[in-house]
Amino acid sequence: MISIKNLHASIGDKEILRGINLEVKAGEVHAIMGPNGSGKSTLSSVLAGREDYEITEGEVIFNGKNLLDMAAEDRAREGLFLAFQYPIEIPGVSNINFLRTALNEIRAYHGQEEMSAKDFLALVKDKSKLVELDSKLASRSVNEGFSGGEKKRNEIFQMAMLNPKLAILDETDSGLDIDALRIVASGVNKLKSKDNATILITHYQRLLDYIVPDFVHILYKGRIVKSGGKELALELEAKGYDEIKKEFELAD
């Protein structure tokens, strides 16, 4: 699905990603954990195509194509989806209009015709049920005035609508109440298949109780310093990052 090799990215003269290696195959769920500021959101932004970062080294192959050569919109059209840690409010653009535009641009890219209004509305109805999104939210401006939890739910709703191959969820669990967490997690689980993959960025084991990862990675100071199975997350939950920090301090 995606193969990240020795990825380095900086902003100004600050190097934030310092050699990331990660291989995700179809059907897998990977969790990335790591202390604040370690570069998790940067990694997801770089993959999604945010232009603020300079890629200084490395390559990313996404379904056989060179991801870093593609514009952000083409990455999305190729099936990459980022659920933002901080979803953006866009006053004046309705959620519905936004999604219809996105869906149709993706379809056009694949040489498919526009979806009919009827089919589109049926899809909206179906997918908003999946994350129990209030239908009123769908007709409001994108994220405008949404509560923190509503914004996160809206991200997963969009993911459901666009049906990506690789979804990167950047702290989608933070800010969700217990019920919402369960709803969102079950939405993600329902969308999972042997043909797609998920990268979960999270600080909490709790999410991983619901969406069980095949692999857990620890990102620290711009590198993946440790990888393991789901038990690694439990270990972290118990011990915190102290040991890891100590072990890799010298690498800085």
């Binding site: 999604a48 952000a72 059209r77 653009v93 996105a102 994108v142």
Partner: protein
């Protein structure tokens, strides 16, 4: 005399000579007004960028450069020319090259509505002309007073509510270079209500300097809702002066959409002359190429308990430019004034400029006033969010610009007009 002063009077004098040679023998303003108008013009000259209010808008320079000679050769228009400009839900009235043309206008008998040409006015009515827009306040008003055509006088008598919009189509059409001085007078009597659309066009291939003045009286407890649609095309240089006076409990609103015109200068002046009245001024423009659109507003709060609201938005592309200059006076008697003003602008290129200048002069102590301006590039975070969902750069920009303009487009409550504005707006994105 300095060289500058000589040049200044030279341009004005040439213009005056040319207009005087071509003017019809009939004058429409009161005689005394014409005398003072010419005197003021000869004295002050057409404003250039040395004039504080025209710092970014050198009218004299434009006349010197683009209107060295004027032919004043005008075309008469036929109904087929006007048909596409009409609004189906409105009573359509037509003013061609500054003259009200009854033959092209719709004649509907509507209770309380009077429409006349200036040359049909009674002495009493004629005296109203130039009662609001004074020659001594602005050389362009003076120019208009001295040379305006047979303009349109519209009156809604006491307590009548006009059930459909009234649409005045101002259209210029000529050959070569032309200067057109169009004038209108609108009076909404006590307790009366009307919705007015004023559309501006230049059809054909003449280069036009269009100097428009409209006086508007909104009397006690009356309501006037105006929409101004400016689509004069790339051969047009225009100044639009609106001089409105609102009486007790009166309500005046205007929404100006500027879609084309090489130069459009709007001077929108509102006097809140009595207590408890309100004014709402809104504007939206999008410019490209070397276009320039300037919105200058002046709201004069003279009496207590009045409210004013202003929201202006602009999008400037290419090398185009714009100005928002909003003056608010709160006079010493105008206690309990609420005055809000906001101007937001988006620059779509490094060569585009928009200047904003709020100017509040407050002489009363118990008032609520706020103003805010912002001018910046398109929101890159929002752009990235849209692109990250598969929406291409172009479409994403358009979505954001439409969203930016939406609250103003929504104010255009007349469906056909709203569609017309939206269509042209989307086309120029």
């Amino acid at each position: 005399m300095s060289l500058i002063a000589e040049n200044k009077s030279a341009v004005t004098q040439t213009l005056l000579d040319q207009l005087q040679n071509n003017a019809s023998k009939v004058a429409f303003m009161p005689d005394s007004e014409i005398v003072s108008a010419i005197r003021y013009l000869e004295d002050k000259g057409i404003p250039n960028n040395k004039h504080e209010d025209y710092k970014y808008c050198n009218i004299e320079g434009i006349l010197r450069k683009e209107f060295k000679s004027v032919e004043q050769s005008f075309n008469a228009l036929i109904p087929e020319d006007i048909a596409p400009l009409k609004l189906e839900e409105a009573i359509n009235l037509v003013v061609v090259n500054g003259n009200y043309v009854s033959a092209l206008s719709e004649k509907m008998i509507v209770r309380g509505l009077t429409v006349k040409a200036f040359n049909e006015l009674s002495a009493l009515e004629k005296n109203l002309l130039s009662s609001q827009a004074k020659s001594e306040s602005d050389a362009l008003i003076a120019l208009n007073s001295a040379f305006c055509g047979n303009g349109l006088y519209l009156e809604i008598e006491n307590a009548n509510v006009i059930p459909m919009p009234i649409h005045i189509i101002y259209v210029n059409s000529g050959n070569g270079n032309c200067v057109v001085n169009t004038r209108s007078f609108i009076r909404i009597g006590p307790n009366a209500e009307a919705t007015l659309v004023e559309s501006f066009y230049n059809i054909g291939n003449s280069k036009v300097f269009s100097n428009f003045v409209s006086e508007k009286l909104v009397e006690e407890n009356a309501k006037l809702t105006c929409f101004t649609f400016q689509n004069e095309g790339s051969l047009s240089y225009s100044v639009h002066t609106n001089q409105a006076k609102i009486f007790k409990y009166g309500n005046y609103s205007n929404m100006t959409a500027t879609l084309s015109g090489e130069l459009v200068r709007n001077n929108h002046n509102v006097v809140l002359a009595e207590p408890n009245c309100e004014a709402h001024l809104n504007g939206l423009f999008i410019t490209q190429g070397t276009q320039q659109v300037d919105n200058h507003t002046l709201i004069d709060h003279q009496m207590p308990n009045c409210e004013s609201n202003e929201l202006y938005k602009g999008i400037a592309k290419d090398k185009s430019s714009g100005t928002f200059n909003g003056k608010i006076f709160v006079r010493k008697d105008a206690q309990k004034t609420n005055a809000y003003q906001s101007s937001k602008n988006i620059l779509m290129s490094d060569d585009a400029t928009i200047n904003t200048k709020p100017q509040l002069e407050i002489y009363a102590d118990d008032v609520k006033c706020s103003h805010g301006t912002s001018t910046g590039k398109i929101d890159t975070e929002a752009l990235f969010y849209l692109k990250a969902r598969g929406i291409g750069e172009d479409t994403a920009r358009k979505l954001l610009l439409q969203a930016f303009a939406q609250e103003l487009i929504d104010k255009i409550e007349i469906p056909t007009l709203q569609e017309r504005v939206l269509h042209l707006f989307e086309e120029s994105l």
